[in-house]
């Protein structure tokens, strides 16, 4: 039995008898409906929170009469990540539209040495904005979760840092998908706002950017933060990915 927290494009806790890669394939493609969608999820340990009915999962998530494993049993569909302690998280999985799945292992968080004075972040859960910030990832999660000086906080957050491009040279962007296709002037203004003297720590570039998000533009990796803690799942670079799972990279448009 496996337990998965899906955090992109929806938030849900799902029990399944499928191992992670099979689960990724099933969620992306479905068994009959012929869907084709990307998703990200993390495997977690069972009984990690009292907020969920683990006994129900164990009793209902059983193989079908023909021996076919139970694909999915939804245990919760909102306010999931706030209930799950960081210690319960295992690997994170990135699933392509064609169902190919890449697993990422957590590493100790270390702030990037290549800091431009601002960062671009895509929040995945519980809300989904694309933001610019003058804060590094750990500082950002602390600010969003624990800074009570502002009106709104969230108990936990999952987000990705986004590769930034030379905004003056749009022709040579590299393979980044459609993330930067919106109003570039607005994007520059947001970056200026967080870099400048206005003292803004974060600025929303777009409230929801899920359809534009692709794995090609993940920078350092994926972050899961709760309370004061943070988990860091580094994204392999091109050379590493070639060795780890070249076919996943092709499906993700990282190789062509």
């Amino acid at each position: 039995m496996y337990y998965y927290v899906v955090f992109y494009p929806i938030e849900a806790l799902i029990a399944s008898q499928l191992e992670p890669k099979e689960f990724g394939m099933y969620m992306a493609r479905g068994s009959k409906k012929g869907s084709a969608e990307r998703l990200m999820f993390a495997e977690i340990e069972s009984d990690c929170s009292e907020a969920f009915d683990w006994e129900f999962a164990r009793s209902k998530c059983v193989a079908h009469s023909d021996g076919e494993p139970k694909h999915s049993l939804y245990l919760s569909i909102y306010r999931v990540i706030e209930q799950i302690p960081l210690e319960a998280y295992r690997n994170v999985y990135l699933v392509n539209q064609d169902g190919t799945t890449l697993g990422l292992e957590a590493r100790d968080y270390k702030a990037s040495t290549e800091w431009k004075g601002y960062g671009l972040y895509k929040e995945h859960c519980p809300v989904h904005p694309f933001i610019a910030s003058s804060l590094k990832p750990k500082e950002l999660s602390d600010y969003i979760i624990s800074d009570t000086s502002k009106k709104i906080t969230v108990p936990a957050i999952i987000f990705t840092d986004i590769r930034s491009i030379d905004l003056e040279e749009k022709e040579h962007t590299g393979n980044i998908g459609s993330m930067f296709e919106r109003d570039l002037d607005h994007l520059k203004e947001c970056i200026d706002d967080v870099k400048g003297k206005k003292g803004k720590l974060t600025k929303t570039i777009d409230r929801s950017f899920d359809s534009k998000f692709t794995y090609q533009i993940i920078g350092e990796g994926i972050y899961i933060a709760r309370g004061k803690g943070i988990l860091f799942y580094p994204m392999p670079n091109r050379e590493e990915l070639k060795e780890i799972d070249y076919d996943w990279g092709r499906s993700a448009n990282i190789f062509w």
Binding site: N96, D98, H172, T173, N175, G177, S178, Y246, W256
Partner: protein, 730 residues
């Protein structure tokens, strides 16, 4: 009387024809060596062998099916030729068809053997240079077969009918009347029939192969890549084997027989012109005219020998990791040696002859100068094609940039580039025609076409290397070979795309020059025995029939192209539906737990191509005949001019627009304007999909349309010139 008799023209002929036949046989022997050299290489793992086996089986099944259809059509044409024209015409026609079909068959076979061995060479050696050599060796089999079979066949036709049966002897280069009362010059009918045999195969191979390959390609892309999000050449895509089969039947067999036809067309057009010039200008000496007739064969033989040196050069030297440089080196070596060789041949051949009587302005070297003009203009046209279609230059980059604003502007900008790209090559062709004509009259124009294709052996080798490398890439992906291996085959494939665009420039240019020569011969043939010495060839465009013929002729390529595009769309639609059906019926396909039904997709492409190719191919043969028997020779004259002018423009436009859309997409994929997954990429994919049938089905088929109509008209003009409805009605 023996061929080796002391008569100058016959003795000289035999010596020369011996050299030509030896050159052609040497090319075929070299092809055989390379064939077995590739075949004995290790094909790799069991999975690789299975994949390549499926591709080979699919390609063979299609070509077998296609050749059965061609056999029936050819049989009818051969019988008609035998009854109406002459037995020699019928035999030459069958001979031409067999030579062309053989080259296509061998080329397709070696391509399906070489693809997996190229992939395995990359797997074993991890060396770009060594892998390139295997791919080029495979491609050279097709190049050598095209040159060898085309020239061997024509040389044997010339030897048997021209020399032994004396059709090419000067005293026989005049009108004869057959049992139906139809007058023609037998030798011109015989070699025209040989060219027609090659053209029929080329038309079916190009049209059928073009429909097959694009239907499979579009089917694989539209569902597999766009809807299901699976990458190119992924084994989970049910259409992926059909796509790879398409590369072999379209880009190898189709391309090979297309260029063989162009090559033969250019040689034959010069030989026929020589006969007509002799007949119409009584001032030319008999010894000179026989040399004018066989000079094209000698220049072609020189080109084959030069090409063999170029090919050998690449196969024996230490190959660097720069495939573009290596392939260019082989091509330029072939071209350079051809220039030298043909210069020597021409000088010694025409030295001491009264060449001024044949309208040569620069003495014995006049035909050579015209041929060099053809070679240079071919290279310039190729460079122009590269400028407009390569993503290293502004026009294609601009299309990529327009893709940021969506598919509508991608299409608009691509059309603009395609249309603009027509002018420069046409100007070059115009300059070449005027200069060649000034140098050696109409014969010079024909020699320019020969020059352009004289090193076809090496250019086809390079062109065939492309689809072999493409297939090798597909096999590497399907067999999930190491990324380093796939990187090597991808790099080789990328170079193949550029060489294909340049090859198309040569094909269109030579088709235009050959069509002009054939058209001139048509006018001579139309005039028939009434041709008087010093006649000036004039087509009266003010005549309503000729003018209307011109209008209909100009419209014909659009009808033809429209039918081809619709044929591709029909077959692609069925393919899309089948791939969707398979994905829905068996989710295990996408999950990688069950294998797709590749065979059904191959059958759809195959059946679609076979059923859809017949009407367009038959239109090209039937139109000049039907209109000729109704409206007469003047109408067909206009028809030929209209078709030629319209086809040249359309062929250049479709080839360049399609190439530019294709490479515009590649430019985006190489990390520009957001790269893969961006909206610019989605728009660029639309452009590429629209351009695919244009550049790979329509454009190449138009080259053949021009020549097949000219040859059919040339053969039939002596009949419908006399017997047509308008003439009968008075």
């Amino acid at each position: 009387m023996s061929c080796w008799d002391k008569y100058d023209w016959e003795g000289g002929n035999c010596m020369m024809i011996g050299f030509v036949i030896i050159a052609a046989l040497a090319a075929l022997a070299f092809a055989a060596i390379n064939y077995y050299g590739v075949k004995k290489k290790d094909p790799g793992t069991e999975q690789m062998v299975q994949i390549s086996g499926a591709i080979q089986e699919g390609a063979r099944a299609f070509l077998n099916h296609e050749y059965k259809v061609i056999f029936k059509v050819s049989l009818v044409i051969a019988i008609v030729l035998g009854v109406v024209v002459s037995l020699s015409g019928a035999i030459a026609f069958v001979f031409g068809a067999v030579m062309s079909a053989s080259a296509g068959w061998i080329g397709m076979n070696i391509a399906t053997l070489a693809n997996v061995r190229v992939s395995n060479e990359a797997r074993n050696t991890k060396s770009l240079g060594k892998t390139l050599r295997v791919a080029f060796r495979g491609g050279s089999v097709m190049g050598l077969s095209v040159g060898g079979f085309a020239l061997l066949g024509l040389a044997l036709v010339y030897l048997v009918f021209g020399v032994l049966l004396k059709q090419a002897s000067p005293e026989n280069l005049r009108f004869h009347t057959n049992w139906l009362g139809i007058s023609d010059i037998p030798f011109t009918m015989t070699v025209s029939s040989y060219a027609l045999g090659c053209s029929i195969i080329a038309m079916f191979n190009r049209v059928g192969g073009g429909i097959y390959t694009k239907a499979a390609d579009m089917g694989a892309d539209l569902v597999g890549k766009t809807e299901a999000g699976i990458p190119e050449d992924d084994p989970r895509n049910p259409a992926t084997i059909a796509d790879n089969v398409g590369d072999n039947v379209g880009d190898v067999a189709g391309l090979g027989s297309d260029l063989l036809e162009s090559y033969v067309g250019s040689l034959v057009s010069a030989m026929i012109l020589a006969a007509y010039i002799y007949f119409s200008q009584g001032t030319i000496a008999a010894s000179l005219v026989s040399k004018l007739v066989y000079a094209p064969l000698l220049v072609a033989a020189g080109g084959i020998v030069s090409s063999m040196v170029g090919i050998l050069f690449l196969l024996v030297k230490k190959v660097s990791d720069n495939p573009h440089k290596e392939l260019n080196a082989a091509t330029f070596m072939g071209a350079g040696l051809t220039i030298i060789f043909s210069g020597v041949i021409t000088f010694f051949l025409f030295q001491g002859e009264d060449v001024a009587s044949a309208g040569f302005a620069l003495g014995a070297l006049s035909p050579w100068v015209a041929a060099v003009l053809g070679i240079v203009s071919g290279i310039v046209i190729g460079q122009i094609a590269e400028y407009y279609t390569s993503y290293d230059y502004k026009p294609t980059q601009k299309i990529a940039s327009s893709s940021q604003e969506g598919p509508a502007l991608t299409i608009t900008q691509g059309m603009s580039v395609g249309m603009i790209s027509v002018m420069a090559p046409v100007v070059i062709l115009g300059v070449a025609i005027i200069a060649a004509h000034a140098t050696a009259g109409l014969y010079g124009v024909a020699m320019a076409a020969i020059g352009m294709l004289s090193f076809v052996t090496v250019t086809v080798s390079v062109d065939t290397y492309g689809p072999i490398a493409d297939n090798a890439g597909g096999i590497s992906e399907m067999a999930r070979l190491h990324p380093e291996v796939r990187g090597i085959t991808d790099e080789l494939d990328a170079v193949g795309n550029t060489t294909a665009a340049i090859g198309k420039g040569f094909a269109i240019g030579s088709a235009t020059l050959a069509a002009l020569s054939l058209f001139s011969s048509y006018l001579y043939a139309q005039a028939g025995e009434s041709v008087e010495h010093g006649i000036e060839l004039v087509l009266n465009m003010v005549s309503p029939l000729t003018l209307v013929g011109g209008l209909v002729g100009a419209a014909l390529p659009y009808l033809f192209s429209g039918m081809l595009i619709e044929a591709v769309a029909n077959a692609a639609r069925k393919m899309v539906q089948e791939v969707r059906r398979q994905f829905k019926a068996d989710p295990g396909i996408i999950q990688g737990t069950s294998l797709p039904d590749y065979t059904t997709c191959i059958s759809i492409s195959s059946a679609g191509a076979i059923s859809e190719m017949k009407v367009p191919a038959l239109i090209s043969v039937a139109t000049p005949l039907v209109t000729g028997f109704i409206f007469g020779a003047g109408f067909v004259g206009g028809l030929l001019i209209g078709t030629t002018l319209s086809s040249v423009m359309l062929a250049l436009y479709t080839a360049n627009a399609g190439g530019a859309w294709d490479n515009g997409k590649k430019y985006v994929e190489h990390g520009h304007f957001g790269g893969k997954g961006s909206n610019a990429h989605k728009a660029a994919v639309v452009g590429d999909t629209v351009g695919d049938p244009l550049k790979d089905t329509v454009g190449p088929s138009l080259d053949i349309l021009i020549k097949i109509m000219a040859i059919v008209s040339l053969i039939a003009v002596s009949i419908f010139g006399k017997f047509n409805l308008f003439a009968l009605l008075g």
